[in-house]
């Protein structure tokens, strides 16, 4: 029984190895690392495959000896135990050979690592800042700055709507970069440690609050590349994807011009006086992106996990000044409440506060205008 089952187990193991070697050909059963789209990611992939095959060969060698021995040297077949033990020669051989194999592996690993970490002489720099639970991109040479958060609708996550193709891999504002430019990323965080990872680029880099790490890439083909936060960063760690779009230089310049136009329009919106309907409509969308994960769709919160209810809550129905303060500056007692003053502009903040004071049956009838937010900052 043992022999047959073992043979079967080995066959399936071998099958798995073959599949792994065959690469990514099964859409629903992904098996291997992506080779990626940059020079570095190809080097990392080649290194991965080299070490993998070394491991497979050695592993199968050892397993072959073990299996032969298990089948042959058994008491039921009348095997008599040999008495040999301790052989200095054998032990020197099987210590030296692995050592030499490791040295052989270390050489390409070293050159790849040095290339991966060489962030000198970039053509442009983008600062990436991790927030619970979104990313902020600052284009240091262009005066462009925006947040990028999950765009997958809540209904898909909770199962009341069909999941889309890019479920949990879609954002509202993707990071856009030009091709054929050495781009340096300066990566940091506003709160806890995050990790910025787009597998197609071949690396991930931790975002550490108070420190700046750097990394680089140079893409050659336009395309959309998706990734995720890779370091546990709290409740919605699984819900802060990354979408990177590489464009040709012309398309990229057009995008830059667009962004600057949008920024000007946004600046204008901060000075006008909004109607209740406008505030509520904008507030709802801001709420869904920034607040809903903790305070929930109906404002009921998750009190057991430390996320208080807004529905009839002391802050959302209390004085406006207190509401403005906690949204702008964060929770003093509860660190889970972020300081949104740094993340949202005056119009967004005015809208979301107005929304919270009038949605969920709170109906205070009070409006907060962008000018009120500016005054409270």
């Amino acid at each position: 029984m043992f022999a047959i089952s073992l043979r079967r187990a080995l066959c399936s193991l071998w099958g798995a190895v073959l599949l792994l070697g065959a690469g990514n050909s099964f859409a629903d059963y992904p098996l291997n690392l992506t080779p990626g789209v940059t020079d570095i990611s190809h080097k990392v992939y080649d290194l991965h495959m080299m070490v993998f095959w070394i491991c497979v060969v050695v592993c199968l060698g050892v397993f072959a000896v073990l299996i032969y021995s298990i089948f042959t040297h058994r008491k039921s077949k009348g095997a008599q135990p040999a008495t040999f033990h301790e052989s200095t020669t054998v032990e020197i051989i099987w210590t030296t050979i692995p050592f030499l194999v490791l040295v052989g592996m270390a050489v390409p690993a070293t050159t790849t690592l040095l290339a991966l970490e060489d962030t000198r002489d970039p053509d442009m720099s983008i600062q990436i800042t991790g927030y619970q639970w979104k990313w902020k991109y600052d284009y240091l040479d262009e005066d462009i700055s925006f947040f990028s958060a999950l765009a997958t609708p809540r209904e898909q996550i909770e199962g009341s709507a069909e999941k889309g193709e890019n479920y949990l891999l879609e954002v509202d504002n993707p990071i856009v970069v030009p091709i054929n430019k050495k781009i340096r990323f300066l990566i940091t965080s506003n709160d806890v440690i995050h990790s910025w990872w787009v597998p197609a680029l071949g690396w991930k880099q931790d975002a550490v609050p108070g420190f700046i790490n750097d990394a680089w890439t140079e893409l050659s083909e336009p395309g959309t590349y998706r990734g995720k936060c890779a370091e546990l960063c709290g409740k919605d760690h699984g819900f802060m994807p990354i979408v990177l779009i590489a464009k040709t230089e012309e398309d990229y310049q057009a995008w830059v011009a667009d962004q600057k136009g949008a920024a000007a329009a946004e600046a204008a919106s901060a000075t006008k006086t909004w109607t209740m309907d406008e505030l509520m409509a904008k507030g709802e969308s801001v709420y869904q992106t920034n607040c809903l994960a903790c305070h929930q769709a109906g404002g009921e919160g998750i009190p057991a996990a430390g996320f208080p209810a807004l529905k009839g809550g002391a802050i959302a129905t209390g004085p406006v000044a207190g509401h403005l303060d906690i949204v702008l500056n964060g929770g003093k007692k509860n660190p889970a409440m972020a300081a949104f003053g740094q993340q949202l502009n005056d119009a967004d903040l005015a809208a979301v506060i107005t929304y919270e004071r009038n949605a969920f049956g709170n109906d205070t009838g009070e409006m907060v205008q962008p000018a009120d937010v500016a005054a409270a900052r």
Binding site: A9, A16, D28, Y29, P30, L31, N32, L33, T34, V44, L47, H48, V51, C55, V62, F63, L66, S69, H73, R74, K75, S76, A79, Q80, P81, A82, T83, H85, E86, T95, A109, T110, L114, I157, E158, K163, L168, V192, I193, S195, W197, K204, D206, V208, P209, G210, F211, C229, A230, E231, L232, G234, K235, D236, H237, G238, F239, A304, A305, G306
Partner: protein, 525 residues
């Protein structure tokens, strides 16, 4: 070797009932307590793993909210490491080290009682955080700052206290083992004649004494950062969040060897017994264990390749890390050479030991792959590492504890284990554990990060397969509880020798081992 003088059971002076267990200073009683504690924690931690696999069965959020999911991954890790594997290994040490070196008991029996009885309180305190306002710890078993300091729930202070208590217990246990091994060996039992299980535990005990205080330092810094205004891990006050990771992994890396070295010892006992052949290279096994222990201190930052370490640091930690493959390979080659041209039979302990050698080797190789720093930039924090450390800790450390239980249960209970039921348990576990963890290699390489409650659609099929394997593996361990209880209650009577090919002092005493053994020291050779 002479036969041990044994004492008649009826002359023991000990309280009966519950007080026997509360006041006991007997190494066998304390070993039993440790093992039952570990078993209970295994089932609790396993139940948490079932919650995790249930949530990951399909994409979308179905079973728990993300915060509670994080609490589950955190508590599962902590309970399994500090509640199941470590106490399980200490339980084996308590039962077996005195029996294997011909000592009447551990060197410090009263401290032994205390080091056990701290555990249930520490474990209860840790579990009680689940019911506190704000929820339990949800920052991963590695509790990286500042998620575990500034951004953590109030229950974190209870977690810190529980870790301190677990640390006390481990350090006292380690001191006891070192004192026992150095002072209590039977005449003639020189260090280089000690069974390998004793050797591996002796070396492990030094690792424990070296690194548990480092862990205590890490959590104490967390405590003062949280409550007393220090800024060890807060850049705004001049500290550094990455400092936490340096301190944690200086503990954490030796910790993984604390969990696996005694497992190496167990396997090195079982394979020669059932191959009916001496271990191929006894002294090289001892030296390999010592070198792994030494190397474990100087490779820790390979857990931190993506934190922004200087490139020189990355190179050094990469080179040092892959070197561990050498002594580990020596061990696997030794077990292979021991089986080679032996006269093997495949009783339950041997089946588990062989499964250990095969599956631990797979876990070892993925470890080597991750030691290669540029490739680790991709593997880091994905399911690839989850697969790796579960191959090492489940099919490694846990399988070794199960193998040891099957190996020594006849000695502990006086009854042979039912081979048929045991084989069902074995095949059920071995197949399901691979269905559970092997696909995690694939989804990790394909880009699924660890510690996420919901995932994108390309990972759906493998996750479902993995979850099915998980439920089956979990159920198999409940079946193991049944087998153990059945063996305690009755079964074929075991002889003192138990296994035909077994050598060593523990097999010279009757089965079940009397309450007091080796009151007169045996002569060795």
């Amino acid at each position: 070797m002479s036969t041990a003088t044994t004492h008649d059971d009826h002359h023991d002076h000990r309280p009966s009932g519950l007080m026997r267990w509360v006041t006991t200073t007997n190494h066998k009683d304390i070993g039993t307590l440790y093992l039952w504690f570990a078993f209970t924690m295994l089932l609790i931690g396993g139940a948490m793993a079932m919650v995790i696999r249930a949530e990951l069965f399909q994409p979308g959020l179905q079973v728990v909210d993300p915060q509670f999911f994080n609490t589950m991954t955190t508590m599962h890790g902590l309970i399994m490491v500090f509640g199941a594997i470590m106490p399980g290994m200490v339980g084996l040490a308590n039962w077996q080290i005195p029996l294997m070196i011909g000592a009447p008991d551990m060197a410090l029996p009263r401290m032994n009682n205390w080091s056990f009885w701290i555990l249930p309180f520490a474990g209860t305190m840790l579990l009680s955080t689940l019911f506190m306002e704000g929820g339990g710890p949800a920052f991963g078993w590695t509790f990286y700052a500042p998620l575990s300091t500034t951004f953590a729930p109030a229950s974190t202070d209870f977690f810190i206290f529980a870790v301190h208590m677990l640390g006390f217990s481990s350090i006292m246990g380690a001191i006891n083992i070192i004192a026992t091994v150095l002072n209590m060996r039977a005449p003639g039992m020189t260090l280089m004649k000690m069974p390998l299980f004793v050797w591996t535990w002796f070396i492990t005990a030094f690792l424990l004494i070296a690194v548990m205080p480092v862990l205590a330092g890490a959590v104490t810094m967390m405590l003062t950062d949280r409550n007393f205004g220090t800024s060890f891990f807060d850049a705004a006050g001049g500290g550094d969040p990455v400092l936490f990771q340096h301190v944690f992994w200086f503990f954490g890396h030796p910790e993984v060897y604390i969990m696996i070295l005694p497992a190496f010892g167990v396997i090195s006992e079982i394979i020669p017994t059932f191959a009916r052949k001496k271990l191929f290279g006894y002294s090289s096994m001892v030296y390999a264990t010592a070198s792994i222990a030494f190397l474990s201190f100087i490779v820790y930052a390979h857990h931190m390749f993506t934190t922004g370490m200087p490139v020189a640091g990355e190179l050094y930690f990469m080179y040092a890390t892959v070197m561990i493959a050498v002594p580990t390979a020596v061990k696997v080659f030794n077990w292979t050479a021991t089986m080679w041209r032996g006269s093997m039979t495949f009783e339950l302990p041997m089946l588990w030991a062989i499964a250990f050698v095969f599956l631990f080797t797979i876990g070892g190789f993925t470890g080597l792959m991750m030691g290669v720093a540029p490739a680790d930039m991709q593997y880091h924090d994905t399911y690839f590492i989850v697969a790796h450390f579960h191959y090492v800790l489940v099919t490694g450390a846990l399988f070794a504890i199960i193998a040891a239980a099957y190996y020594w249960l006849p000695k502990w209970t006086g009854h042979m284990v039912n081979e048929k039921l045991g084989k069902v348990h074995f095949w059920w576990s071995v197949i399901s554990v691979n269905v559970l963890f092997f696909p995690q290699h694939f989804i990790g390489l394909a880009g699924m990060p660890r510690r996420i409650p919901d995932y994108s659609l390309q990972f759906a099929d493998w996750n479902m397969i993995s979850s099915i394997g998980g439920f089956a593996f979990g159920l198999a361990q409940v079946f193991f509880v049944f087998i153990v209880i059945k063996t305690i209650r009755g079964g074929e009577k075991a002889t003192g020798q138990v296994w035909e090919g077994a050598h060593g002092l523990e097999w010279t005493v009757p089965s079940p081992a009397p309450y007091h053994t080796f009151e007169t020291a045996p002569e060795v050779r």
